[in-house]
């Protein structure tokens, strides 16, 4: 394990042998104590940025929050020292801890939309900590907040503070939260996945704003993310964590260019699946023609004149930002949102627009997999019941025949028969998504619509799911309509691509053509916004843009 270089002066934050434990209450078992963080040490100089990276469960956030002596839920810091400005904050007592939170260390949460109080105006929340800790009077704090809003390129910096959180977009809220953290002039800010919930095109702006704000104010930061490419843009050093243990710690360049540990190499190269585009020879079995769909009784048009084709056994990827109409397209095809105009032909016949008018066979041939696997399954049913349901419903199977088929499907998703009697709560995120895939496959569909199926998963797990989907496609000849905002996923899985922007398909064709220059302005923005594991990529990408992102 590499130690980061140190110079003589005492660091701002010095965590020594940190041990964090939690009491867990697994169903049907006696409560026990598990260790989340195993004797991790780190140090951070004034004005430097340390990136903490790892998958979920690596202990990144837990370590980050320990710098504020905070444990989420039942989490307890049980060993080690957290030295901030030379004193051990774990020994400071409740009053001491409260005095440093919001003053010396501030926190920027993953979802600013949830982290702002919906009942209060933004300005009141931004200046709250400064006033509470006596850093500034209300007037001074508000003046500083407006200056920070301006620095973070928020629109209308003079008045945006008068708004309520729901009146401001997600990307803007994330910047307001950064301003809130900077307002009391802390020594350290903990950024906990601040751009993960944003669209790529928005992420890049927020990332640039955060980076500039860190540089100009000279604040130190712990930057937590699961995305190494993002962390590499803002960090001086990177610490790789896994299962609560330190894997590797070094300078940003060393980590991404010369990783010394196997796990770090896996993270660096995680996205690369070679996928040969299939020839568009066969004729499409599903054609969407000039579909227009709207919500609110025709008031809000979300799909405008959309036409796409899906070829047997191939994958059409639909990409775009949130609000571009990707999921609405899926809802229109499945009949959940009957289109107002246009038609859908499936295997030579026209599908009824309304779900209730479709035959059971039409329903069977179109299956869906969702982003949130855990809410897409009934928590009170076992895996066997969940996968067996379509077998009973569509094929009238029962008893031993059904069980044998369920076991076969479990083998296909590489999970094995042992899972038949498990409940969804006992599965990991990746396993849940696999069960959802098996449930969709059980209906023997011609097309599976995958709606952001890997977005909620860790990169390595997501990679496994993509490989599984590709393998199943080769075996079963099923086609996918793959909805995603992640272009790396698109490159790994698609045969053809439709780029959507504000309800319209702006670019459509085989993968090789869509991803070949010259690009239209929007596709260019989308492609250039995907973080690359290059130092200095962020500045280059921002500098070379031809249009501003829509939803920041």
């Amino acid at each position: 394990m590499a130690k980061a270089p140190r110079n003589g002066s005492s660091p701002l934050l010095d965590i020594r042998n940190l041990r964090i434990e939690a009491r867990v209450y697994p169903p049907g078992e006696a409560p026990r104590t598990i260790t989340l963080v195993h004797d991790v040490s780190l140090s951070l100089e004034k004005g430097k940025v340390l990136g903490l990276i790892g998958e979920s469960g690596a202990g990144k956030s837990t370590i980050g929050l320990s710098s504020m002596a905070y444990g989420r839920g039942g989490v307890k810091i049980t060993g080690g020292e957290v030295l901030l400005n030379g004193r051990d904050i774990l020994k400071g007592g409740t009053q001491g801890v409260r005095a440093l939170r919001g003053r010396e260390v501030c926190y920027v949460a993953q979802s600013a939309a949830a982290a702002f109080n919906p009942a209060h105006r933004l300005m009141d929340q931004v200046v709250e900590a400064s006033i509470l800790h006596g850093v500034a009077t209300r007037e001074e704090a508000e003046r500083r907040a407006v200056a920070l809003f301006r620095k973070l390129s928020l629109p209308d910096p003079e008045n945006i503070g008068q708004r309520f959180p729901h009146q401001v977009s997600g990307g803007q809220l994330q910047r307001v939260m950064t301003a809130m953290a900077l307002c009391s002039e802390p020594d350290l800010i903990v950024f906990d996945e601040p751009t993960t919930a944003l669209d790529v095109t928005t992420q890049i702006d927020v990332l640039a704003a955060i980076k500039e704000a860190i540089r100009d104010t000279g604040v130190a930061a712990l930057y937590i993310s699961h995305d190494l490419a993002v962390v590499a843009q803002v960090s001086d050093e990177i610490m790789v964590l896994r299962h609560g243990r330190l894997v590797e710690w070094g300078g940003t360049r060393q980590i991404i260019k010369e990783p010394r540990q196997e796990y770090t190499s896996a993270l660096v190269s995680v996205h690369e699946i070679e996928h040969q585009e299939k020839q568009p020879g066969a004729s499409p079995f599903l054609s969407v023609r000039n579909i227009t769909a709207a919500y609110g009784g025709g008031k809000i048009k979300v799909l405008k004149n959309v036409s796409v084709d899906i070829l047997p056994g191939q994958t059409l990827a639909v990409v775009g930002e949130s609000g571009s109409g990707k999921s609405t397209l899926a809802r229109a095809i499945t009949g959940l949102l009957p289109p107002e105009e246009g038609s859908i032909t499936f295997a030579g016949r026209t599908l009824s627009n309304r779900l209730s008018d479709r035959s059971r066979d039409d329903l069977r041939e179109l299956q869906m997999i969702y982003q949130m696997a855990d809410v897409a399954m009934n928590p009170r049913q076992t895996v066997g019941t969940i996968i067996g349901r379509p077998l009973e419903f569509y094929f009238g199977m029962g008893g031993r025949e059904r069980d044998a088929k369920v076991a076969e499907l479990l083998d296909k998703i590489e999970m094995g028969r042992g899972f038949i009697d498990r409940y969804p709560a006992e599965l990991s995120g990746g396993q849940k998504q696999r069960v959802c895939i098996a449930r969709a496959l059980a209906a023997k569909p011609r097309l599976i619509i995958c709606d952001e199926v890997t977005s909620a998963l860790d990169p390595l797990v997501a990679n496994g799911i993509l490989k599984l989907l590709l393998g199943l496609q080769a075996e079963e000849g099923v086609a996918y309509l793959f909805i995603t905002h992640d272009l790396a996923t698109v490159k790994s899985i698609a045969d053809s691509i439709a780029v959507m922007y504000r309800g319209e398909v702006v670019r459509y064709g085989p993968k090789s053509e869509v991803l070949k220059p010259p690009f239209d302005a929007y596709t260019d923005l989308l492609l250039s916004s995907v973080p690359e594991m290059e130092i200095g990529w962020l500045e280059k990408a921002i500098g070379g843009r031809r249009m501003a992102s829509a939803g920041n």
Binding site: R98, A114, F116, H166, Q167
Partner: protein
Amino acid sequence: MSNPILKLIAQRIALGLLLLLAVSVLIFAGTQILPGDVAQSILGQSATPQALANLREELGLNDPAIVRYFRWLAGVLTGDLGTALSSRQDIAASIGGRLWNTLFLAFWAAVVSVPLAIVLGLLAVRYRNGWIDKSISGLALASTSLPEFFIGYLLVYFFAVKLQWFPGISTVYDGMPFLERMKAIALPATALTLVVLAHMMRMTRAAILNVMQSAYIETAELKGLSPFDIIRKHAFPNAIAPIINVVMLNLAFLIVGVVVIEVIFVYPGMGQYLVDHVAKRDVPVVQAVGLIFAAVYIGLNIIADIAAIVANPRLRHPK
């Protein structure tokens, strides 16, 4: 900007009026189904058939029910609630003073119980699962579980009979000095407070605890706010809608559900009046009181709805 809110409020009020109309139909229909003949009950068993027929004609009882309903409704809308059969007195005149008495008692019970319940709820959340929380919950539950007449008699026994601090019979009259009046209602108001306290307290606690799971509570904690400030400034404003709802339900109970307490303390309010006239089978009085109680109930629930709408910043400040 306030347009959508005004529309929602107008909708609620219109719905409330519609509901009240439906209730008036129900009340009228219900009293029609009751056995017995009004004319017979006025004149007694010994009345001659001719006298009965004359009285029926005079009261309009021979008209179809629908005509009588609209006649009654028209009367109600113009403030004429009819005449009591038993006493031959104008109902609106006799209700006036009693309604005022009931509202006076309910008002002071609410002034004590609502803030007390909310403060106790906040305290229970602040010290949740500790002994303070458990004793608050325990005492409040105990007071709700005891029947109200039992609480009433306990209060009478200790504070009127043993200690002799307050009168056991709450006699009030017109022109009574304010302090005298307060002293008279002290025991019934206390009994009512104990009855409604637990419900409001527990709802406050539950609503705030629900909000305490939110990410913005963590934000507040990480700003260094004290636990009580977090509850007061960040949790309470977001829990206000369900709290208002339960408060309004209990206020309605304070007005509509006081029958037992009024009887125990012989307090001249609406409850007493209703009980007296139910016993005398005085249908017009029962109808009138029923309608007033329904109006109070619906009115308070409309206020709760409107308050919940106004408390929601998303509706108050649309995008």
